[in-house]
């Protein structure tokens, strides 16, 4: 398919055309939501880096990261905070001219090793790292947190959840079956097969090549306290709000309205891409 690289001013003299288009970049607006739910502790952690600095955002990239400390395990908050601080520190050193996907995978390995070193597999965390750079999205994910893109009228799950359900489905596919009943009925289908804080992190779900971003795209990173409570139609409605702040407010109202008796901590980061 042919692509045009020139822009013509409407009603301008024919000779008045640009050799190169005026560069116009996507800008990113972010907002976050964090609530404790019905739990006594907040085990989710998150961070934005460069969200309020347009120059750094363009030259160094924008970082958004969410970590969900694992409930039922000792020191979930310690784990998620350790993941965030390590990833932030590594992002500050990111070489934008080198391979970004490989660097994001390395951040996960470093966060994993640090948490394992501290908690010796007695605590852990999920993690989703997103870097917005050069009109593209790079991500890396461990665990079962959610990474969703709203584009046009559709919602797309970008990451693959690392849990028993996915593992059993993959076994079925590799055996030539398309029946996911064994996964649906697995007694520990929600158990994580991978998290930050393992002796050895063997599987990282990530882009190997950047996802080109488009005007109007909305990216949501959230813990399962949001992604597991609101259904796709609700998420789509929330992410269709005009601003990231309103999107977060609608997700907040949606989760509260669901009124779960045992509502997990919930955290959501939203990034809206616009020209």
């Amino acid at each position: 398919m042919k692509k045009t690289n020139s822009t013509t001013l409407l009603n301008a003299p024919r000779a008045y055309t640009f050799e190169n288009p005026i560069p116009h970049y996507l800008s990113y607006r972010g907002a976050q939501l964090q609530q404790i739910g019905t739990r006594s502790y907040q085990e989710d952690s998150f961070a934005f880096v460069n969200i309020s600095d347009v120059t750094l955002m363009r030259t160094r990239g924008l970082l958004a990261v969410v970590a969900d400390g694992m409930g039922g395990m000792k020191d979930g908050k310690v784990a998620s905070e350790a993941a965030i601080s390590r990833i932030k520190a590594e992002f500050e050193k990111m070489d934008v001219s080198a391979d970004i996907p490989t660097q994001l995978q390395n951040y996960m390995v470093m966060a994993n090793d640090e948490i394992f070193g501290t908690l010796n597999a007695q605590g852990g965390s999920t993690g989703i790292i997103c870097v917005f750079y050069n009109e593209s999205l790079y991500y890396s994910s461990v665990g079962d947190s959610y990474l969703i893109l709203k584009r046009g009228d559709s919602i797309y799950h970008l990451n693959r959840k690392q849990n028993m359900f996915t593992r059993v489905c993959l076994q079925q596919i590799r055996e030539g079956s398309v029946d996911c009943t064994p996964a649906k009925t697995h007694p520990e289908k929600a158990a994580l097969t991978c998290f930050l804080g393992m002796r050895e992190l063997r599987d990282i779900d990530c882009t190997l090549r950047p996802i080109p971003l488009m005007d109007g795209d909305v990216i949501l990173l959230c813990s399962d306290g949001v992604g597991g409570v609101l259904d796709e139609a609700q998420l789509k409605e929330c992410l269709s709000a005009p601003t990231p702040e309103q999107m977060c407010r609608m997700m907040h109202e949606g989760v509260e309205a669901a009124g779960r008796r045992f509502q997990d901590n919930y955290t959501a980061l939203v990034v809206q891409c616009e020209y």
Partner: protein, 239 residues
């Protein structure tokens, strides 16, 4: 180097009327997917006939790949008509065939089996189904995603074995193939359960054809209904 992987399943049906196949050549590869119609000993034979005929030796490395594919599809069409006469049935088949020859790729399709071509991290080309539902989409009556669930989705306007003049649609790459390009050939039992953008996003996560296929199948397997259609995929990655 071209990395190719194929997967086919009867889905929720008793018989698999889809067939897939591929062959490497000295300069590239030929890939074929076909979705048969006509039930057991009908549709399954029709689709297998198509795949076998397209992949029959010798696969010439001609200068005109479009012409080569056209001749092979015409031969497959004749074979199906012969089978219809021999078995006294009305077996038919769709087909999507791709020939990769050096840095050039050429493809053709009949019916609603699809080819997706990914280049520069974008879906560069998708075939247009020969179906009533696709016409409705073209006319603006339904959205692209609604094609999958439209009541006329299975009403094909063209097929092999239909006794009317064979009219394949052709496509080809306009820029040289480069490492990181990908092709997906699939039957409707697959694409009905996955969105175009999901095909692209999973492609961008992988560096081999099997992993790409498996990531897409992980999405599809959760969405299949008990009586879901046969489904087939062939993924190819230029490395």
């Amino acid at each position: 180097m071209i990395d190719i992987y194929s997967f086919t399943s009867p889905g929720g049906r008793e018989y698999n009327e889809d067939s897939v196949g591929f062959a490497y050549t000295p300069y590239g590869a030929v890939l074929v997917a076909a979705d048969g119609l006509g039930g057991h000993r009908g549709g399954d034979i029709a689709s297998k006939t198509v795949v076998d005929t397209v992949l029959a030796e010798p696969i010439e490395d001609t200068k005109n790949d479009k012409d080569w594919i056209k001749r092979r599809l015409e031969a497959a069409d004749r074979e199906i008509l012969d089978q219809q006469a021999a078995r006294a049935n009305k077996m038919k088949s769709t087909v999507v065939a791709l020939k990769i020859n050096g840095t050039k790729a050429t493809w053709a399709h009949v019916g609603d089996s699809r080819l997706y071509y990914i280049h520069n991290s974008r879906i560069e080309a998708v075939t247009e189904d020969h179906s009533v539902a696709f016409k409705k989409y073209r006319a603006g009556e339904i959205s692209r995603e609604e094609i999958a669930t439209d009541e006329d989705q299975s009403s094909l306007l063209r097929s092999l074995g239909s006794r009317s003049k064979l009219k394949p649609d052709f496509g080809e790459t306009t820029e040289p193939l480069t490492a990181g390009d990908g092709f997906l050939l699939c039957s409707d039992g697959f694409w009905e359960y996955i969105k175009d953008q999901e095909i692209l996003f999973d492609f961008l996560k992988t560096n081999n054809a099997q992993a790409w296929s498996e990531l897409m199948m992980l999405r599809v397997i959760e969405r299949l209904k008990d009586d879901s259609d046969n489904l087939s995929v062939i993924t190819a990655m230029i490395r």
